[in-house]
């Protein structure tokens, strides 16, 4: 188990370097890193050369990357377009997006797993077919359309919720955006759970459990679900990182000032410090979520633990 964790941690290092380097290259080589630094205006030549030197842009790219990472690990993510420290932007943006993501994950866990178990146990019945069809529709409608429609229906027509979220983004206002953010994954969790449950329901060990004379609820909870939910938990865990990075669209629709919002601003204003900084943190979150999933997986499945 200890060796397993260490191996996983070691495997994360090249992925972290690769992913951050890739983003760093994309932003620095293809874009102009100082374009956004003088606010909306073009920099004058003197300032530009001073800035180039200050940021070490005259040096090779790999050195720039090393310098940047050195700064990052000492907590310095640089300055955003409006003179604010990127780290301050993060301090305000990440809690908001984290809350949004948690709402989304809660929907996946509760609604997705329950629907998946219900349909998996009733494979081929009307409930199953209708839920399955519904999940396909949810998957097929892009999130930005779902979001716009949800905003129109719940926020404008029925006035159940505020159509846009206030600056502090309290949990109550994040329920609808969280559902929108979760929608596609929710459909996948449902389908994945359903397949997994249906598959395991026909397995030999479930047949054994029935042959042992166990009551139906015990067969389902103790034998069937324990096995079926392993891939589902894995999926949801991995999804945490993906949701946080993918919240751009949802945050834009509901005017949520989270990670996606800041990133979008950073990209529009070509502010490299903001973009690279936020992406670096997102990559770290993604990797940590993956590590967590691996650990949970090992706890749930002894075949991994003792491998």
């Amino acid at each position: 188990m200890g060796r397993y964790v260490i191996r996983r941690l070691l495997q994360m290092i090249p992925v972290f370097i690769g992913a951050t380097l890739l983003i760093f290259l994309m932003v620095h080589v293809m874009g102009d890193p100082i374009a956004g630094l003088c606010g909306e205006r073009q920099c004058d030549p003197a300032t530009e050369s001073r800035l180039r030197q200050e940021f070490g842009l005259d040096r090779p790219v790999w050195q720039q990357y090393m310098t940047y990472m050195g700064h990052v690990f000492s907590g310095d993510f640089g300055t955003a377009f409006n003179g604010q420290k990127v780290i301050e932007l993060m301090a305000s943006a990440f809690p908001v997006t984290l809350r949004l993501t948690l709402v989304a994950v809660a929907f996946e866990l509760v609604v997705g797993v329950v629907l998946g178990v219900l349909t998996g146990l009733r494979r081929g019945r009307p409930v199953d077919t209708s839920v399955l069809l519904l999940t396909l529709v949810v998957i097929a409608v892009p999130t930005f359309v779902t979001g716009l429609l949800a905003q129109l229906v719940f926020g404008v027509t029925w006035r159940i919720v505020q159509p846009s979220v206030s600056y502090t983004a309290p949990l109550g206002e994040l329920i609808l955006p969280g559902l929108v953010l979760a929608s596609v994954s929710l459909a996948y969790v449902t389908r994945l759970t359903r397949t997994s449950v249906a598959e395991n329901a026909r397995s030999d060990y479930v047949r054994t459990a029935v042959a042992k004379g166990l009551p139906r609820h015990r067969v389902i909870t103790r034998h069937l679900l324990r096995n079926s939910l392993i891939p589902v938990v894995t999926f949801i865990g991995t999804d945490i990182g993906a949701l946080m990075g993918g919240a751009i669209v949802t945050e834009r629709i509901f005017n949520i000032h989270g990670v996606g919002f800041q990133l979008y601003q950073g990209i529009l204003r070509q502010n490299t410090q903001t973009v690279v900084g936020f992406v670096t943190v997102l990559v770290i979150v993604f990797l940590l979520a993956n590590l967590l999933v691996d650990l949970v997986y090992a706890v749930l499945d002894p075949r991994i633990r003792y491998a």
Binding site: R207, V210, G213, R303, Y306
Partner: protein, 324 residues
């Protein structure tokens, strides 16, 4: 009579049609008796056992007729809750592949102990102690320590011992063993079979042994029932069968014994293949492969004729076969 199966019928609905996997099967087992059910893959021997045990997958399977009298009660007419209490406690089953038949994410101790918790209302601690006793009894070394291990950590033979322990846990009156040694190495097969036979004697249980291995039958069984295409073609005391068969199919099986060196080759002497369950030949289902078949076999389905010595044969020419 402990178990009396009468005219049992099971169908599978598939997209290509209805398969009559079990087509009017009757057999009986006395308390303490061992009945071997013999047949090729697809003969319906396992499906019939699953129907008796009440673990048939429905759908696609469906029991369309017959009775399963166990200690005088027709199990097919019992409520599911009553039936559940019988499963595991009064009749238990041993499966072929213990690796897939045991739950991969629970340790064997709790899987064994579960029997006592559910059927006897014991506490987890008591159940655990009984589980260790059981593991000891089926010859698993260091039982106390190994009770916390998971199925994948055991060897094939040890896993099958766990399976046997689980079936014996509540000392049922009847055990159904579905090819209990097929998945094991040859050397281990004998040990496991010996263990099963010994414990059956000690606890005086009846055993239905489903197999395609005549060697196993000779050593363990009192009587045999031979199945072909969802029907019983011959039943007889085991000593009588070893002298002579009253059905050409049984005879072909016996003739193929010397070749019984590998699974899948035992029917070397029988020409042709077992019939597709969707298209069972009319008349005697065995006639396309039968060396003595005549016109009547192609049209008239043979009944089970009384053939003396406690034998029954579903062959129009059983007398001829017995003599020849």
């Amino acid at each position: 009579m402990l178990l009396d199966v009468r005219d049992l019928r099971v169908e599978f609905r598939t997209r290509d049609g209805v398969a009559r996997a079990v087509n009017g099967v009757s057999y009986a087992v006395d308390a303490g008796e061992t009945l071997a059910v013999l047949g090729e893959s697809g003969s319906g021997k396992s499906v019939a056992a699953q129907a008796v045990m009440g673990i048939l997958d429905t759908p696609p399977g469906r029991i369309t007729g017959g009775e399963v009298l166990f200690r005088g009660r027709d199990l097919l007419r019992l409520k599911e809750e009553r039936r559940r209490r019988i499963r595991g406690a009064e009749m238990a089953m041993i499966f072929q592949d213990a690796l897939s038949a045991l739950n991969p994410v629970l340790d064997v101790g709790s899987q064994l102990g579960e029997m006592f918790v559910v059927h006897r209302g014991m506490s987890r601690g008591q159940a655990r102690a009984r589980a260790v006793e059981l593991m000891d009894r089926v010859g698993i070394p260091a039982a106390r320590e190994r009770a916390g291990d998971y199925p994948h950590q055991f060897s094939g033979g040890m896993r099958q011992r766990v399976m046997i322990a689980m079936a014996l846990a509540l000392e049922p009156a009847l055990i159904i063993a579905d090819e209990p040694t097929t998945a094991l190495d040859v050397t281990v097969q004998a040990q496991v079979m010996e263990l099963l036979a010994r414990l059956r004697r000690e606890l005086d249980m009846a055993l239905i042994l489903i197999t395609h291995d005549l060697g196993v039958v000779a050593e363990a069984a009192d009587r045999i029932a031979v199945m072909y295409a969802g029907r019983i073609v011959e039943t007889a005391p085991v000593h009588a069968v070893h002298r002579a068969a009253a059905h050409p199919y049984t005879r072909a099986l016996l003739d193929s014994v010397p070749r019984l060196d590998r699974k899948g080759r035992e029917l070397y002497a029988i020409r042709g293949l077992p019939p597709n369950p969707l298209r069972v030949p009319p008349g005697c289902a065995f006639h396309p492969r039968c060396p003595v078949a005549r016109d009547i076999c192609r049209t008239d389905e043979p009944p089970l004729y009384e053939a003396g010595e406690g034998r029954r044969s579903a062959c129009h020419f059983w007398r001829e076969t017995l003599d020849g």
